[in-house]
C-alpha cells in the first residue's frame, strides 16, 4: 500500500530525528557529581562499606 510506504518514511524521519536529539543530549557534559559519586562508591567498596548492604 502506497499510504503505508509514505507513512513509514515519515516514521523513519521521526526516528532519525529522535536519534539525533538523543545523541546530542548524550554529548552534553556529564555533570561532575556523577563522576564523584562513582568515585565515592568505589572508595566505599574498597573499605568494605556497603558490602552486605543489599536490598532484597
Amino acid at each position: 500500500m502506497s499510504d503505508d510506504k509514505k507513512t513509514s518514511s515519515v516514521m523513519r524521519q521521526i526516528d532519525e530525528n529522535l536519534r539525533r536529539v538523543y545523541m546530542e543530549e548524550q554529548q552534553d557534559d556529564v555533570p561532575d557529581r556523577f563522576k564523584s559519586l562513582l568515585d565515592r562508591l568505589k572508595a566505599q567498596e574498597k573499605t568494605g562499606h556497603g558490602k552486605g548492604d543489599q536490598n532484597g
Partner: protein, 188 residues
C-alpha cells in the same frame, strides 16, 4: 564472580552516564530532576550490581532501573508538578540558534508534549535503538504494546511537527543537512 571475558560492570558504568542522563531528561523533562534521577539510578545499580548478568546489555539493565526509579518517585510525588515549561524553555533558549538547532528544538518541544508512555517507548526504540522486545521487557509490557505506543508517538510527533504522513516528509531541508553532518562528525 564476574566472567573474566567481561569487564567489571562497575567500571563500565561511567560510559553510560550520558545515555542515562538523556533518558532521564526524556522521562523527567527537567534537568534538576533528571540529575537526581541519574544519581538515584547509579546508587541503586551499584548496590544491585551482583544481580547484573555479565554479557547481557548493561545499558538496558540500567535503563530498567532508572525507569523503575522514576515511576516510583513519581508515584510518591504525584501532586508535585514539575516546572516543565519553564525549565525546558530556559534550557532551549541557551542553545545556539542555527537553523538545524532551531528545527531540532521544535522537534524536542514536540517530543516533550507526548504522553509519558509514548515518549518512553520512542526513547527506547526510536532514539536508543533497543529492539521492541528489549523495550517491552524493560517496561514490563507486551511487545505489541510497545509497538503501538511507539507508533502512536511517531504519528503524534508527525502531527505536531506539521508532517502529514500523506505528504513527503520534510523537516526542513537545511535542517536535515546541517544536523546530519553534525551528527556524523560526532560519531567518530
Amino acid at each position: 564472580m564476574a566472567d573474566q571475558t567481561h569487564r567489571d560492570p562497575r567500571e563500565e558504568l561511567v560510559e553510560h552516564l550520558g545515555a542515562l542522563r538523556a533518558f532521564a531528561m526524556s522521562l523527567t523533562r527537567n534537568s534538576a530532576a533528571a540529575d537526581d534521577l541519574v544519581q538515584d539510578t547509579i546508587e541503586k545499580a551499584w548496590k544491585n550490581m551482583d544481580k547484573f548478568q555479565p554479557g547481557t546489555n548493561l545499558r538496558a539493565w540500567l535503563f530498567t532501573i532508572q525507569r523503575n526509579a522514576f515511576y516510583s518517585i513519581r508515584r510518591k510525588a504525584k501532586r508535585e508538578v514539575a516546572d516543565v515549561d519553564g525549565a525546558m524553555a530556559a534550557s532551549l533558549s541557551e542553545r545556539p540558534a542555527h537553523d538545524g538547532r532551531l528545527a531540532m528544538n521544535d522537534f524536542r518541544k514536540a517530543f516533550e508534549q507526548l504522553p509519558d508512555e509514548q515518549r518512553e517507548a520512542l526513547m527506547l526504540v526510536g532514539a536508543s535503538g533497543f529492539a521492541y522486545e528489549e523495550a517491552a521487557e524493560m517496561c514490563g509490557v507486551a511487545v505489541g504494546t510497545i509497538k503501538s505506543r511507539a507508533n502512536r508517538g511517531r504519528r503524534r510527533l508527525a502531527e505536531l511537527m506539521g508532517l502529514d504522513p500523506n505528504e513527503d516528509p520534510v523537516i526542513g531541508d537545511t535542517t536535515n543537512d546541517s544536523v546530519m553532518s553534525a551528527s556524523q562528525s560526532r560519531q567518530g
